[in-house]
Symmetry: C2
Subunit: 337 residues, 2 copies
DNA sequence: AAATGTAGTGAACACGTGTTCATGTAACGG
DNA sequence: CCGTTACATGAACACGTGTTCACTACATTT
């Protein structure tokens, strides 16, 4: 029926609308630019023809303009199997929509290759938000060269012009230790995640420092991978080696939940009378009736709103001095400590 | 120290590199285009200068080209609080990276406004992948007008040129009912999610049809919101009204887990001897030792690979006939039925 | 040596838009 | 009726790139 066009049909352009409506291409552009002076009747006509032809101004071409922004913001997220990462990603995205920005999401698995980040920098992003764990600091250099604002969250990066939003991990760990000791627990263990992440290192340091200050020594320092299964296996291993333990602080909630399951099922422990367990982050699952996990809240709403504030200000004043925001952790007392 | 520039500094351009390297701008473009003929020494020189100045070809400008693609693919995801949605999103994104496409993610909360989708269509997307729940079919019309391929997953959309990948929900529900009856359960209830979603309707229909075929009647048909808390409250309400129930089929895993918790904690039920519970989807949490949920697997790997296949083929042959792929569900037998 | 081919090169065009600029027209005040 | 002002208008430019098109210099073949 239709002529057998070989090439892929292209999107309707302003030129075609202009031709169909009997006006200049400039007028079409103006019809879609709120401030522009244009006859009301002509504007209606143009919008009607556009509707009919299915015309939408090409945001990509508009972003090419001198003053134009692409309105694209890349987010490097951590492993989405991690509930904390997926929950905060959802909140962050909604905040960006409200700002009229579109999130291009990278990462989402354990190893986010740096090459992937460099590739997306080919786009003239309005900003890059770095939330995943282990990314080299050289990313900051590349962003600086390309004049792309960089906002780091979940860790502190000490580089020129980089804004940071991070939880006060040491303080959070201290809170956990204090609360465990207040319940009379003294043989405390630490279950960390991937040891090369600064968040893990800081939580571990906070744990050790608070414990030392209270006059105790760690019963054990163990590492896993931030996953439920990892926590399950780690506590199984620890208790199989006859380590004396009455309290466990985990570097995130998933491992804490896994550890609780292992304690109950593999060793018949009663939580918290036999063993107290405290997590970190306060993901949604932590308050499920099945768990009622005591944990340290790593406040997502505050984190997201600070990221968005820094982003807005940075876009407004590119040369502004960079900031580092420390989010205050809060101990959430439930039933496992 | 630096001169107080008022305007935002712009990205380094090919023109500047050409000037600095003493070559034509064309040469710079060629240096970054693998197939192009260019003297080897000159190419090295250009790449070196680019490295030094921090030049990267602007992908946005390149995408404007006649044959160029933007390499942007929008994904409309469902509520990311939903674990199934966040897990499949992660897998889908990784698949897109492998294809050299960048995901622009929309949605992530219960109500994805259609206006949001229309706005992102301003970009010349290579494709739009629709995975959220309640989106009007008019999106298909808009995509068609803009020549943007549309791939729908999680539901079937009967529109010209739209490819679909969907789980066989009716078959899945039938599997669940069959397995419950095989365990001697006859007073079965259905706990649905948001009733306006087709996935919920199909699962409900499958439940009723299989039950009728076996000669039984539904003990109750209840609806909630696909959340853990919703499932908890729903079963609490049902059992409080003295409904006789020995088996419950839930439209997703989260509600099933909530129902299990409610049954155990609020009514002291033993699962599965007092009450069998079967979920749908098979999210990661379902196999946690704490739950060991029997469920119907809504296979993510198959779904994602089919989406990617359809995407590849559609980009290759825009005029190809549209397909609807039905993914076969599989019953996963664990400890709750 | 002449004819033919080949790789390299820069100018010019195309992509689709927002905006400036000069021009034209209508409204308004005197 | 004239001078001023305000507004509407289309042509032209800018944005940053990939690609085509002549054209040159050189190697190869006849």
């Amino acid at each position: 029926m239709t002529t057998g066009k070989e090439s892929k049909p292209r999107r309707v352009t302003a030129k075609q609308v202009a031709q169909a409506a009997g006006v200049s291409r400039s007028a079409v552009s103006r019809a879609f630019t709120p401030g522009s002076p244009l006859d009301e009747g002509k504007k209606r006509k143009i919008l009607q023809v556009s509707e009919q032809l299915g015309y939408r101004p090409n945001a990509l071409a508009a972003g090419l303009q001198s003053r134009g922004r692409s309105n694209l913001v890349a987010i490097v997220t951590g492993d989405l199997v991690n509930h904390y990462d997926s929950e905060i990603l959802a909140k962050l995205m909604r905040g960006l929509y409200a700002m009229g920005k579109w999130p291009v999401v990278l990462g989402g698995s354990a190893e986010t290759s740096e090459a992937e980040i460099l590739e997306v920098l080919a786009y003239p992003l309005d900003a890059l938000i770095l939330r995943g764990g282990s990314v080299d600091e050289s990313v900051a250099t590349h962003c600086a060269k390309l004049n792309i604002p960089l906002i780091v969250s979940g860790r502190v990066m000490d580089a020129e012009g980089v804004d940071c939003v991070c939880c006060d991990n040491m303080r959070g760990a201290e809170l956990a230790v204090t609360q465990l000791i207040a319940r009379g627990k003294t043989r405390l263990g630490y279950l960390g995640g991937l040891a090369h992440l600064s968040s893990d290192q800081e939580r571990k340091a906070g744990f050790e420092s608070a414990l030392t200050k209270a006059g105790f020594k760690p019963a054990i320092l163990e590492h896993s991978d931030f996953s439920y299964e990892g926590g399950y296996e780690a506590l199984t291993g620890i208790l199989s080696n006859d380590v004396e333990l009455d309290g466990l602080f985990c570097a995130n909630d998933a491992m804490a939940l896994g550890a609780i399951a292992a304690g109950r099922q593999q060793f018949g422990l009663s939580i918290p009378s036999d063993l107290s367990v405290v997590g970190f982050d306060d993901i949604a699952i932590a308050q499920w009736p099945s768990f009622q996990l005591s944990t340290v809240r790593n406040d997502m709403d505050q984190t997201v709103s600070q990221i968005l504030r820094l982003l807005t200000e940075r876009l407004d004043q590119p040369e502004k001095a960079s900031e580092t925001i420390l989010i205050k952790p809060e101990f959430i007392s439930r039933g496992t400590h």
